[in-house]
């Protein structure tokens, strides 16, 4: 049974695209057939983060409009056969998407893949609503920072009222992915703690992704961080999150990078 998952947040820049790419890559590494779909029409970036920007010929809008077949628009990842990308259009705006077209595409993707990961645009407008509409599960990406938490609260409200599940009277499953977390700063009282965010948003925790330089390094290279640096702290956090998505019980911890002098020397040597 395939699962449609939306990665959403309300606020921009909190790590939706980074997280979509890494969750997708980690699911694919676990042997699942995965497609990551960029819903950010006009401001696509998932192709860039996945390193497939030069391979985009057809996009989601072309498929919605019937200008291309789905199979023509799907870009298979060169590093993992299980992983595919459906890019957004860069030249159109968000009004080019419509519910009927999106519904058809999602239905077709459900037949081909085990997991359909929808990367939502920021905001609460049409693009974000269409990205979440067909979801079975929502991953709410939040930074431990006031504006991000406030916007996540708003998005949680929309997930509970503006999705197909909500309209059918079913309960929308939502999980929190706390990103850019700095445990040392939280311990010093400089940053909201995991418990603070959980208490305020009151949805279950999928994972805690620590702030790390590896994330920028991965996007520079055009690879999900779980592929470019599989052993670094954020990659381990994403791998654990993916095991939880698949129903495993994994103890919740905040992965840390080794910061000893020797480890630093090693990092310096290999990078």
């Amino acid at each position: 049974m395939s699962k449609v998952l939306v990665v959403t947040s309300g606020k921009g820049g909190v790590g939706k695209t980074t997280s979509t790419a890494s969750l997708g890559a980690a699911l694919a590494a676990a042997g699942q057939k995965v497609v990551v779909v960029d819903f950010d029409v006009g401001l696509r970036n998932l192709d860039l983060v996945m390193g497939a920007e030069r391979r985009v010929v057809y996009d989601l809008i072309n498929v919605v409009n019937g200008d291309a077949k789905l199979a023509q628009a799907l870009i298979r990842d060169k590093r993992n056969d299980n992983l595919s990308l459906l890019a957004a259009s860069q030249t159109r705006d968000k009004d080019a998407l419509n519910l009927e077209g999106v519904t058809k595409v999602i239905e077709q993707l459900r037949e081909k893949f085990d997991w359909v990961l929808c990367d939502s645009p920021a905001g609460i407008e049409k693009g974000a609503l269409l990205a979440m509409y067909h979801a079975d599960l929502a991953v709410v990406v939040t930074n431990p920072e006031v504006s991000s938490v406030r916007d996540s609260d708003r998005i949680i409200g929309m997930l509970d009222s503006k999705t197909a599940k909500a309209e059918r009277g079913e309960k929308m499953e939502k999980v929190l992915l706390l990103t850019r977390y700095d445990q040392a700063r939280a311990a010093r009282g400089e940053m909201l703690k995991v418990e603070d965010v959980l208490e305020i948003l009151s949805i279950p925790l999928l994972g805690i992704v620590p702030e790390s330089q590896e994330v920028l390094r991965a996007s520079n290279l055009g690879a999900p961080v779980v592929m470019s640096s599989p052993n670094c702290a954020p990659s381990r956090a994403y791998a654990d999150a993916v095991r939880r998505l698949q129903g495993e019980t994994v103890p919740m911890n905040i992965p840390v990078d080794r910061t000893g002098l020797f480890a630093k020397f090693l990092n310096w040597r290999v990078s």
């Binding site: 920072e145 006031v146 406030r150 609260d153 939280a186 009282g189 400089e190 909201l192 703690k193």
Partner: protein, 84 residues
């Protein structure tokens, strides 16, 4: 800066947490209640317009939710009665 001042300046997370809790309690009430205000507006208008012609734009319905008391404020501008 003394030691106490040093710690006070650093511990900003509890402030963030408290501000968020107050703000979101308020925002959730508004977002949750906006539909009710819209429904009331529609139904009240329907009843009144049976008897008096009113301008839709000159109707204001405001729903304020407080801790122990909530108020519903309805402001309808009636047209001047002609010929009487």
């Amino acid at each position: 800066m003394n030691l106490f001042g040093f710690f006070r300046a650093r511990n900003t997370a509890p402030v963030a947490r408290e501000r968020l809790q107050i703000l979101l309690a308020h925002e959730r009430a508004i977002v949750g209640g906006s539909d009710l205000a819209a429904i009331l507006r529609e139904e009240i208008l329907a009843v009144i317009s049976k008897h008096v012609a009113i301008d839709q734009d000159k109707v204001q319905v405001k729903l304020d939710r407080g801790g122990s008391i909530s108020t519903l404020e309805i402001d309808i501008e009636m047209p001047a009665f002609e010929g009487k």
